[in-house]
Symmetry: D2
């Protein structure tokens, strides 16, 4: 099976590496070519254009940043979809909104390309360790076709349903993630003003059953004032924004998620866009003098 991987950012580079290390036939493409160097050393082929990258591929995996970027790269003037082989499979791992996935599937179909939305739960470290969870929307037999790839890059695959349902599920997961972080951070900031030490709060609150377990992974870093990026704050806000789009489409109020989205927007304006999303605490503490 000839595989093409498009998008070698924090996530994509680690996912592709796991495929390459298994000696699979992998062609990679990234807008910034330098990102591909390490993968080439490990055996990947690098393509100069997306057209070149996809023309012989049986499976094209994309892991990009936003719906807008997927749209440009897949369907823009030099978009790759029109260069794919007939009946090839495009697996989009980007976090987008369900409406976007469904549109992308329809457009791909018009080029006789199969589409699958397969966003992942898990960030930098699980991507590195091959421990992602794939949330798949699309036909079951298409999923079987690439199950072995998901098994290399991840530890679990959930078939969420038809096209768009993988993306739908991802919306919910990241909404929980984003909100748990900001709820925790608001409490820590208040707690400090109440007179507790930050270290005490980080340890005490993160150990409680009222706190999402992933927080524990953030508290050590927060203690040492380390906000190096695992999941960029700006993508977290994007994900809440996409959730807002789909909540609107579904006619379901999401008060908490909406307010969380505005809090992340404030943090972006505060200059934390490219930090880890746990930097939300730095933005909040600015408003608690």
């Amino acid at each position: 099976m000839k595989i093409t991987f498009i998008g070698l950012g924090i996530m994509g580079s680690r996912m592709a590496k796991n495929l390459v290390k298994e000696k699979l036939d992998v062609t990679v493409y990234n807008r910034t070519q330098s990102a591909a160097a390490e993968l080439v050393k490990l055996g990947a082929t690098v393509a100069k254009s997306t057209a070149d990258a996809v023309k012989d591929a049986d499976v094209v995996i994309s892991m990009l940043s936003t719906p807008g970027v997927v749209n440009d790269i897949a369907f823009g003037d030099s978009g790759f979809v029109k260069h794919m082989k007939q009946n090839a499979l495009w697996v989009d791992c980007t976090t987008v909104d369900p409406g976007f996935s469904r549109d992308a599937a329809a457009k791909a179909r018009s080029y006789n390309v199969r589409f699958m939305d397969a966003p992942v739960a898990g960030s930098k470290i699980p991507a590195e360790k091959g421990e992602l969870v794939f949330l798949v929307g699309g036909a079951a037999h298409d999923m079987q076709e690439v199950q072995s790839l998901f098994d290399i890059m991840g530890k679990k695959t959930v078939h969420a349903g038809d096209t768009g349902m993988g993306t739908s599920l991802k919306m919910l997961v990241n909404s929980q993630l984003a909100q748990a972080m900001v709820v925790f951070a608001e409490s820590v900031v208040l707690g400090e003003k109440m007179g507790f030490s930050r270290d005490f709060l980080l340890e005490f609150l993160s150990a409680l059953p009222v706190t999402a377990p992933f927080i524990k992974l953030k508290t050590d870093k927060i203690k040492s004032n380390d906000y190096s990026v695992e999941f960029p704050l700006e993508w977290m806000q994007k994900d809440l924004h996409l959730l807002g789009l789909t909540a609107y489409d579904n006619g379901v109020p999401q008060f908490m998620a909406s307010v969380a989205s505005e809090i992340y927007a404030s943090a972006k304006a505060d200059g934390f866009a490219r930090d880890d999303f746990s930097a939300i605490i730095k933005s909040l503490e600015k408003r608690a003098k």
Copy 2:
């Protein structure tokens, strides 16, 4: 040591029972006398008035519903504090706000009564099993004096600091609890409109590291549409309201907690005040047709 326990609601009755079962010398008082019957069978003494209840006590433990109720029962015209022995210790386990605890301590001092705020983390089941966590504000030597009682009723005692700090910590814990529940419920309600089954969502989302572990205890009940009370929704809203008071006093914005408070207020208006706070999902689903 003569112990008096005031307030035999969902929590207090179970906490007192654990003390009584240890054959300690316990006098109980509740506004509704019937609540004491079982405890009397087990060996407790019941008092007809709070004055009677506390007059010989070395330690008075109160577990009531709101700051207003504590104020009435402790400091009203027939308030118990003025009837306490000199230098006796009053341990208030009610969830109140830190300002209230500090005021209560000051007033108690004027009657030569020692005060300790000792709210608990944990609801009905941990109360029953003696697995509460006590969050204590007050003097360390006062805490040692009643440590053996905390050990009977709970599995852990945290000395949070001076008077009011136990209450402060409790504010933060319940804020996490209240918000985690509503964040989860908003996602489930949206997820259903997206096309997922409720059972799938309850299982899938509650198993993720982005979800607070206590949610798992709620999902089985939600599946069977069981909202029988463990922690009444109206007290959850009260706790968020108290958090709002203390956040105001500390000059710290709490956007998420404020909005959560309004969502619980809406649920109260929807008629779910006396249900378990997990009934927030029933209120939210009314707004997602």
Copy 3:
């Protein structure tokens, strides 16, 4: 000048009627044909398809409900833009978001059609009386070309700037409108629970300089429980949603507008989508028992 008017809803039918009454050469199109009957009696020509409607027009004015509908009717398989005369002018009065207007302008340009965004401030009655305010984005000379039409349908024209700026300004106007209504309604509902009569509150609060003057136009109707539509609640929520899109694009938090959007979403779910947006008070009072 041959004019075509597409979209004969609450607003469009009244705007077109004012043009027709001036004996201008007007062709109209609406998906539901019956809407055109009265205009035909007054002298308008009715077209059976949008292609027919626009093929000879010098100016095409569209007044539709949502960006999605504009997209279908303008650019769908039987979209009208490709049937317009070379260099003809399309004036879109629909409330959309600025990004949409800019995209529409770019697509129109590819068909050699000029584009102008010209949403209006004012609802049913101003539309009827020819007292709308046009908020125009586009080239100044294009605006001059249709100024006489704006003067018939409106009382004022504001040249907001380049393409998209008319729409941008409309976003802000409707955001104020939507929020002023919900802020007022929340206070009335609270005031009633405080013990004031609704009539007193409606009169007293609406007369104050702290209240937007348009509220006065709503209070008489609210008094008589009349929520017949002047501006449908569902479009108000749509407009707040579009504001959210553009706020996201601009990186500006809009906490109040976001929460207002969720409140309107709740009201839609409560069944008030097709009532006047002042029915927000009916939704709020359901949550204030």
Copy 4:
């Protein structure tokens, strides 16, 4: 009639001055004595303590900052109420919450002192010009007794109802005021990012019927970056906080007001507490880079 005026801040000094200028018998008291100097020149008597100030008064008018301050000055160890003449009338013009007014009335009654809540609508300039609106809660005959004083200090008196209803109405008025300002400011900040000039936005939006008329009084100052205090931002947040208390007591959600309260809290933390509340725009623009 012997009148005592307690509290000579921005509002109180101007209100008292209008009484003094009418050659009424006025004794004044302020914690900072210097504030009384000008009034003494005009004929007022200054008292060194509140006890001295009130002992002969028929009417005591208080205009203070917060419920806490009223509580200290009226009921603290050297509180003035116990020094008032039997059956004298205390008129509290401070903005407090209705529960506080009702408590104050009950406590005053225990000293045989009559109480009236009479907060005002209007800030610095109307106070100076004697154009305030008094919102009165209490007995009608008590109100008649001091109507002549209200007529000097104000242009209108509204008898809102029994004790606490003046305060209740004030809550609603200030809630509208606070929210209208922040809604407007959010739109201006977004509008600037959209590409409009601030001057254009201030003029255009403030002239629309969707905008509260008082905004017009703020826009000139905002244009010249003048945030000198007419109504301090920190008291605006206090008022929203008090509204929150009474909304909780009444079981009525106030989503918009709650979020506005958090926005003002953020602005306080940003250092704008002692500026005019229109400085909310400066806080918001910090989060819109």
